[in-house]
Symmetry: C2
Subunit: 320 residues, 2 copies
């Protein structure tokens, strides 16, 4: 009789589920709309109901469930499984672990969604189960997640891997965090749009770009040879390379995985990034390193949540 | 009958030994001169002989030895236990693990000496067994070691924690690694002396410093209120704070431990460091963080080497 874990990835719009055997095989995956009405007070009962229905569909008895991993877009206290804040859901000081453990009578492991996306890519995506993986998400801003010695590193208060808030320009652009010169003010869609607006004020060459363009337009224009777009992308690659080279000096990973919404940019970003990175990185730290694009897309979260449950329950012994 | 591990810390001048019970109690510690004649070919047999003699002294039979941890000043291939290069000893491609395992018939774990000093401080020094510790050595240059999730992180090829080679000044001072603007060109004795010589060319105020002063003289002068010395120390604290704040963003440690030869500088360094750090660090990452001076001095290595053996042999279960 197979034993199972469930991986849940709560997003602002959709909540995704994955059913895995304890051997790590994916049996099923599905999703539902995230109900965040009334500060998310209905969401956990919807999750419970949804899982129980799926068990009936697969003729699995609840006795065969061994654990649940769950990713939440917010700040989590890992040991207590309390969601400190999840703005998009409406949860504050919400005892998610306790609620789900009561409903299923199995251990529940809660973590941040970006960390679990990193774990998912490490486990079954571009990380290929390397010893250490640094996952960087380029979307609106810049996030990250870190796997070292085969385990998720979240740090003393959950901010490990947050490369978007490393400083790259002394007294640089003001960031929403209140500090000046954070990486995410220079890269990803936030930084690119900011660069575009700055440049348009003084740019004298011809360009197809205008102030309302999005990051993806800038990448597309760069691909067609637009000078201004090329300049903005190269500048962003410079800062990203600088920050990544410094992060690599601290954690010396085997894989750097680029995920989030921006891999659509493809080689137009990756090529100058790698060229600049080689300039900045210490040779010894670059020996066993490769850059990869994320492979799991929106499924990374359910893989990572299932990985978390399997890992904490001890189902990975010498390999994870 | 007690079981034991041995921790060995090979230095360029002295090799230190620690005898610990598998419960983690230190029973004895001693040292011998490091014989690096003939490219270090006699050193491992001296180590074997020395340990065996000490066992006789304590009336311990070799059956009660369960493992050995050993730190080497050089680049190590951890899995094979081969010392790729240890310049000060003369070893190159030297199969240290295999040699000691043959002599004692127990598992031997080899690692870099700075990493094991970090592990020692984490285990029995200023780290106080926190979940994550970042150990920074300020000596001639700047080294480092990283403990995350209670385990040593050495990375894909042993360069994790090497904060001395993070870049802090774009197109800055040329480093011996060939790159420009590395942290260690601005802090520790190397950087301070460089700053001193640069400043003396143009400095117009009065100062007791001259071009042959060492870093420790600069710290001492700063303590007495020397303006130039104060400026050099503050500038060095600025760069160190900048690099540490960025490292903290990646690994979010609980403790930052300052070790190496420079803690003699004491508060004259720590005070501006912490002030600047608070300016640079993301508030969330600073919540559970404290700066400490190393506590074990030259004993850190034998503690760390013993910790490595105990850890890899599984003697720490839920606590390390």
């Amino acid at each position: 009789m197979s034993k199972y874990v469930i991986g849940v990835d709560i997003g602002g719009t959709l909540t995704k589920f994955g059913l895995f055997t304890t051997g790590g095989e994916r049996v099923d995956q599905w999703k539902m709309t995230t109900n965040s009405e009334d500060n998310g007070k209905h969401l956990s009962s919807h999750i419970v109901k949804n899982i129980k229905e799926r068990f009936v569909k697969h003729s699995i008895t609840e006795d065969n469930l061994t654990g649940i991993g769950i990713g939440v877009p917010g700040f989590i206290d890992e040991s207590s499984g309390v969601v400190d804040v999840a703005v998009n859901i409406g949860w504050a000081n919400y005892p998610l672990k306790a609620i789900l453990e009561k409903a299923f009578n199995v251990p529940v492991f809660v973590n941040n969604d970006a960390n679990l996306a990193a774990a998912g890519e490490h486990w079954n995506g571009a990380g290929k189960r390397s010893v250490s993986t640094f996952f960087i998400t380029l979307g609106t801003g810049v996030g990250g997640g870190l796997i070292a010695n085969g385990d998720l590193v979240t740090g003393a208060n959950g901010t490990a891997g947050e490369i978007g808030h490393t400083l790259v320009v002394p007294n640089g652009r003001l960031c929403t965090c209140g500090r000046e010169g954070c990486l995410e003010e220079y890269v990803a869609s936030k930084g690119l749009r900011r660069s575009l607006r700055n440049y348009l004020r003084n740019f004298e060459g011809s360009s197809s770009l205008h102030k309302d363009n999005e990051a993806i337009d800038i990448y597309e224009a760069a691909k067609t040879g637009d000078t201004l777009a090329g300049q903005i992308v190269n500048e962003s690659a410079y800062y990203l390379a600088y920050a990544v080279a410094n992060a690599v000096m601290i954690i010396n990973p085997e894989k750097i995985i680029i995920g989030g919404g921006m891999p659509a940019a493809g080689n137009i970003l990756l090529q100058p990034l790698v060229i600049q990175f080689k300039r900045f990185v210490l040779k010894e730290a670059d020996k066993n390193l490769s850059f990869e694009f994320a492979q799991l897309g929106n499924d990374a979260g359910i893989y990572g949540a299932s990985w978390l449950a399997l890992k904490r329950l001890g189902y990975f012994c010498h390999q994870d």
